[in-house]
């Protein structure tokens, strides 16, 4: 049993089982809604943590890829009446393509260039969502996005959608854990430690980083797809710079060095606002304080923090 949990499929399966057990205890649809969002956020931050923790790069445009995924499937299924089975590969293709175009030049550069390029891309995408009114409905958005039907069953309530989202979360975790333990994962760790040494060892550093960046964008596209068919209504407000920064905050607060850090950080920062309702708009100030405090006091993040009565093991 213990050995099974050390494998990536063991961990992914355990995540799925725990999420199902949680569902048995949660009878309040409001909480289920929050956990669906949690799953969607975790899909994005898992990709972002691979990029930040393993490739040592930062993307401030994940919300743009999320938005591109959501708008692509939204527009294709409502305006062109395309079936979801076709819109899904299209939204994956488009996010990956755009990430590829942005990633190739900037990942050859060192340092902060990817951060700024993705930030710029995020703003451009946001402007396009606002201005391309015939397709996107502009600032007021558009609705009536169809629900997902899988094996003849329409995912028409939160319970079904919850299971669907968390199944995908588990798949993403499985895939990501495997990537970390693969040749590419080891190459990433080498790059993160010392880029020059990694290059000397024959690792094509730009290509490996590009690979992870594109993968993370693809994850965000999938998350956008899930968001669109859950909310069934899209407007630009959900895909702005604020959300990109929040995603980076989630990863940094949880711990960049580990996928489960992103999992923890996302959980904390998705659930926390529900308890901060009385702060209204000032939650952004709280995020800033939390992020600053974590960076100053514990730059490695919450993951692996030693709780006195319960030891947390620290293997990835």
């Amino acid at each position: 049993m213990k050995r099974l949990l050390k494998t990536s499929y063991g961990k992914a399966a355990l995540t799925f089982i725990i999420s199902l057990i949680l569902l048995l205890f949660l009878r309040n649809p409001y909480y289920i809604g929050i956990l669906i969002f949690l799953g969607i956020n975790i899909i994005i931050t898992t990709g972002l943590s691979l990029l930040m923790g393993y490739a040592g790069q930062i993307s401030l445009g994940q919300a743009a890829f999320y938005g591109i995924g959501a708008y692509t499937t939204g527009i294709l299924t409502t305006k062109l009446n395309l079936p979801i089975i076709l819109s899904f590969p299209m939204c994956l293709f488009l996010t990956v393509l755009i990430a590829f175009i942005v990633g190739i030049p900037t990942l050859r550069l060192r340092g902060h260039y990817l951060a700024m390029a993705t930030l710029g891309l995020g703003e451009i995408v946001h402007i396009v969502f606002n201005e391309l009114i015939p397709l996107t409905g502009g600032p007021s958005g558009f609705g009536n996005i169809p629900l997902i039907t899988i094996f003849g069953m329409e995912l028409d309530n939160d319970y079904k959608y919850y299971v669907f989202v968390w199944a995908i979360v588990s798949l993403i975790l499985f895939l990501s854990l495997n990537i970390i333990n693969s040749r590419i994962g080891r190459a990433l760790k080498a790059i993160h430690k010392e880029q020059t040494t990694a290059a000397t060892l024959g690792i094509n550093t730009a290509r490996v980083k590009l690979y992870i960046f594109v993968l993370g964008a693809g994850y965000a596209g999938i998350a956008g797809f899930l968001y669109a068919h859950y909310i069934t209504f899209l407007s630009p407000g959900s895909f702005g710079l604020g959300f990109s920064v929040l995603l980076v905050t989630m990863v940094a607060v949880g711990g960049m060095e580990n996928i489960w850090g992103a999992f923890i950080g996302t959980t904390v920062l998705t659930i926390l606002p529900e308890y901060l309702r009385f702060f209204h708009d000032f939650d952004i100030l709280i995020y800033g304080v939390i992020l600053m405090a974590i960076m100053m006091l514990r730059p490695e993040g919450l993951y692996g923090i030693k709780i006195p009565f319960k030891r947390v093991t620290s293997d990835g």
Binding site: M52, G56, Q57, I58, L60, V102, P105, T106, R108, L109, R110, G111, H112, Y113, A115, M116, A117, L119, G120, L121, E123, I124, I127, V128, N130, E131, L241, V245, V248, T249, A252, M256, D281, F282, I284, L285, I286, Y287, G288, V289, L291, M292, M295, M296, P299
Partner: protein, 297 residues
């Protein structure tokens, strides 16, 4: 209004906005030169400058001149505090941690501004009235001349500072090689603090002088910072003259596209330039070919 006059009008407004971008870009350059950090909170300094000036003027009823000066001073102090209590402590951390800290600071500044001043936009009166000048049929607001004057003043003062004062030369030495600077007895820590102070100061000035034209709003910093960064990259990161030229070019392109194509996509222009320069000439448009080949980015 015929097309010629219209073009002149766009040119004037482009130069005005471009001057502000140039100031933000100079702020980026100063911190980048002495630390290698891109300060994501740079745009927030501009926002804070405007907001603080409005507060001093409207709430404390100080004279406009004193409010402006006070606001610039306060923003400079914020820059110093930020450096002392965050950057200084983390100076040996990885680049990614330092980026995240400046992002955290920008969230804090923005959140703090919203907390204190709410979500309204505020305006300051122009420094010398709103009576416009007329030139070949185009109108020039007096504030435009103030902005251009300040840009000229900042560039002249910085050039003098880096060329003729011992502290300025010491900062330049840090930019070239921090370790070597330390060996010849330069207090690198102090120079880093000074660079944050200078950069916040310039941001504060930009914020105060632009508020009579574009209003101050808590949410203004991020986009301004991003455009300022695009400008800095365009002119060559760390190159002050380049920043000024690039600022004016970006401002002009933005004004022309807003006037002649569509105002909705105006903000995208600077960002598309940013991406294009990053892709094709990461050393900036003024970098020589050999320089471009030697530098690692």
């Amino acid at each position: 209004m015929n097309l010629g006059v219209q073009l002149l009008q766009y040119t004037l407004s482009g130069i005005t906005v471009g001057s502000i971008y140039a100031m933000v870009a100079i702020g980026f350059n100063i911190i980048y030169n002495s630390t290698g950090i891109i300060n994501f909170a740079q745009g927030e300094f501009v926002m804070l400058g405007g907001m603080t000036a409005v507060y001093l003027y409207k709430t404390l009823h100080l004279p406009l001149f004193v409010s402006g000066l006070g606001a610039v001073f306060i923003v400079m102090c914020i820059g110093i505090l930020f450096e002392r209590f965050a950057i200084q402590i983390l100076k040996d951390s990885s680049v990614i941690t330092l980026i995240i800290v400046t992002i955290a600071a920008s969230i804090l500044f923005k959140g703090g501004a919203m907390f204190i001043w709410g979500k309204d936009a505020y305006v300051l009166p122009s420094f010398s009235g709103d009576e416009p000048f007329h030139m070949f049929g185009a109108t020039i607001l007096p504030q435009t001349l103030w902005i251009l004057g300040f840009l000229f003043l900042i560039v002249a003062a910085l050039t003098g500072f880096f060329k003729f004062t011992i502290v300025g030369k010491a900062m330049k030495a840090c930019a070239f090689n921090r370790r070597a600077a330390r060996i010849v007895g330069i207090n690198v820590n102090r120079m880093v603090m000074l660079s944050f102070a200078l950069s916040a100061l310039i941001g504060g000035i930009a914020g105060v002088i632009v508020t009579p034209i574009t209003l101050a709003h808590y949410d203004r910093g991020a986009l301004l910072g991003l455009k300022g960064f695009g400008t800095a990259i365009f002119g060559g990161l760390g190159n002050m003259g380049g920043a000024v030229a690039a600022g004016i070019i970006v401002g002009l392109l933005e004004a022309y596209s807003a006037g002649l194509i569509s105002s909705g996509y105006k903000d995208a222009v600077a960002l598309i330039i940013l991406l294009a320069v990053l892709f094709f000439r990461p050393g900036g448009i003024f970098a020589k070919k050999e320089e471009q080949a030697l530098k690692t980015f």
